[in-house]
């Protein structure tokens, strides 16, 4: 029980216009965890964060913080701080006063404010920026001010709402590493919202995948990637080939006109399933050794590998990722190892 710093129990959120943002969400967040809420836009990830921050009231359910229900606690009394999407810096204040804002509100002694702001600006690599106006800073620097402004208050939990969304790729990568380091150093629970699956995989201790207000899977990045629970997760995390199949018996599945050995068990006989295969798990073989053959329809160079699309004779279009170059129009053979085949229950559409 006390392992968890925040628990969301049966949280639902229906907006005034009838839009269901969250549907019976259950989530327990451990102390010092880096947890990422991941999903496409409109999946409810930002709403979840705003409910924890106190900016939205859940329609149903309870928010428990360190064992206490905090549904009715207004945002300014919660021991969490937020890094907002577009930073929301106070443009009428300079960098020092932005960072010091929370400490001044809590009537911290002046010397201590000075010391803690300095310390925090060091942490985010903005030494000497105290007197600068925030509007004169670059996007990355403003981002750091926003992080410092939140962290200087030593919150139990830091909420981050797509904090790197407005930065360019290179800077985003650098900030990902820095944020992760900060989190480990300070030992603060981070709850991070993003729609960037790569970002989620590289930074998080655990990932919550949301779609249309419903939790799809909560797991470690490795498990999410290797053992996606359903076709949505598989498709959202990295690219996947998702194929209709039928489970013939344990460890044998029929798809694309072939009976293929796999390692999954526990399905009903002849149950319709989704077969998920990662593009990098498809091996290119000689035509005679291959499970399927097909004609290469496009080859795109991606740096480390090529994205290759192959149309097999039954009309299915495969996506392969391979470091060996193939040529358009060639016929190639493809095989998949049994443990690279992921069988998933069909999501029944209502």
């Amino acid at each position: 029980m006390s392992d968890y710093i925040i628990q969301l129990n049966n949280i639902s959120k229906v907006f005034e216009d009838g839009f269901v943002a969250l549907d019976n969400l259950n989530l327990s967040i451990k102390k010092n965890e880096f947890l990422t809420l991941l999903g496409p836009s409109g999946c409810g990830k930002t709403t979840t964060l705003r409910i924890i921050g106190g900016f939205e009231m859940p329609t149903e359910g309870e928010i428990v913080f360190q064992g206490q229900k905090i549904n009715d606690l207004p945002p300014h009394k919660r021991k969490v701080n937020t890094v907002f999407q577009k930073y929301a810096l106070f443009t009428h204040l300079n960098v020092f006063d932005n960072v010091a804002f929370g400490l001044k509100i809590s009537k911290t002694p002046k010397n201590e404010i000075k010391e803690r702001v300095r310390e925090m600006l060091n942490l985010v690599n903005l030494q000497g920026f105290e007197k600068r106006q925030v509007e004169s800073l670059s996007g990355g620097q403003q981002q750091r001010v926003a992080i410092a402004r939140a962290l200087v208050n030593r919150p139990e939990v830091l909420l981050l709402d797509e904090p790197l969304g407005a930065l360019d790729l290179k800077m985003r990568k650098d900030m990902q590493i820095e944020l992760k380091k900060m989190q480990e150093k300070l030992g603060i629970t981070f709850i991070y919202v993003t729609h960037d699956q790569e970002e989620a995989l590289s930074m998080s201790d655990s990932i919550v995948i949301l779609n249309e207000g419903i939790v799809q899977q909560i797991d470690t990045p490795i498990n999410i990637y290797n053992e996606p629970k359903n076709a949505f997760v598989a498709d959202f995390i990295g690219e996947s080939n998702i194929i209709d199949g039928t489970m013939l018996q344990d460890k044998l599945v029929h798809f694309c006109n072939k009976d293929i050995p796999c390692i999954d068990t526990g399905f009903a006989k002849n149950e319709k399933v989704d077969v998920v295969i990662r593009p990098e798990d498809i091996d290119i073989k000689n035509l005679s050794d291959a499970q399927w053959t097909g004609k290469v329809t496009s080859v795109i160079f991606k740096g480390v590998h090529y994205d290759i699309t192959v149309e097999s004779s039954d009309g299915f279009v495969w996506l392969l990722q391979n470091t060996d170059r193939q040529y358009e129009g060639d016929t190639i053979g493809m095989s998949v190892d049994p443990d690279d085949i992921h069988i998933m229950k069909k999501v029944i559409d209502l």
Partner: protein
């Protein structure tokens, strides 16, 4: 040919608009009581103006009413705008439009109705009623200078203040008001200008012994032609013009900076 015609037309309009004021300004420096003859250049009327106790008293009332009413209206109007901004769609447009009606209402109607209300409530007309009337007609102008700035503001800035531990009132004082300050100052200047400028509403709501400059000019003009009127009117024109230029310049640079959010 057509180009010079266009230009001539433009100058004709400008002449049409500004000739009366130009005449007024020229006559204010005319060293002759007659309006028909030029008696040489003089500052005499301006000097006499500042020796006239009635006019100085009216100037005092004008400035006092102008400052007090625009400060009070700015405070009330700013908080009103923040409140209106917080409303949901339907009540937002309802309340916004209700506050706009006084602006398009004819001054004479506003003036007479205020007077009737003061009589009805048994309030003796004088400085206080004049002040109340000016506050009343100034509030909508403040609201409409402040609302666009609120729409431009990043709403998360307010939430960020709450997030950092400030209660809602502190967040408004420490963060929202500084963020919308340009709109507040523009509104204040506009209100001050309108207050100095007002005749009709003041005429109906002030009482014995309390007159502002425009009422003073009106009564001087009724008593007979006095070149001091020209000097006083010239000064008022220059002050009001300067204030309006500042207001226009401010709102122009405000709109240039950011795109307004539509509701």
């Amino acid at each position: 040919m057509s180009k010079s015609l266009k230009k001539a037309y433009l100058w004709l309009i400008i002449l049409f608009l500004y000739a009366p004021i130009l005449v007024l300004m020229v006559l204010s420096f005319n060293d002759s009581r007659s309006r028909a003859t030029w008696g040489g250049f003089t500052f005499r009327w301006y000097i006499e103006l500042f020796k006239d106790r009635d006019i100085l008293l009216a100037l005092y009332y004008t400035l006092a009413i102008g400052l007090l009413s625009s400060v009070i209206a700015t405070i009330i109007g700013t908080f009103a705008a923040i409140g209106i901004f917080g409303y949901k769609k339907l009540s937002y447009s309802l309340v916004k439009n209700i506050s706009y009606i006084p602006v398009i209402n004819a001054d004479i109607v506003t003036g007479v109705s205020l007077m009737l209300m003061f009589v009805f409530l048994g309030i003796n007309q004088g400085f206080f009623t004049l002040l109340l009337a000016h506050i009343t007609f100034n509030i909508p102008y403040i609201i409409f200078s402040v609302l666009p700035k609120l729409h431009q503001m990043d709403i998360h800035v307010y939430e960020a203040a709450l997030d950092l531990g400030a209660n809602p009132f502190m967040s408004i004082i420490k963060v929202v008001i500084p963020e919308i300050r340009p709109g507040i100052i523009t509104g204040f200047l506009l209100a001050f200008t309108l207050s100095i400028d007002d005749f009709v509403i003041s005429f109906f709501t002030s009482g014995p012994g309390v007159t502002n400059l425009s009422i003073e000019i009106y009564s001087m003009a009724r008593r007979g032609i006095n070149p001091k009127i020209n000097a006083l009117s010239t000064l008022m024109f220059v002050v009001v013009m300067a204030l309006l230029l500042i207001v226009n310049k401010r709102s122009a640079s405000n709109t240039e900076k950011k795109v307004r959010r539509d509701i």
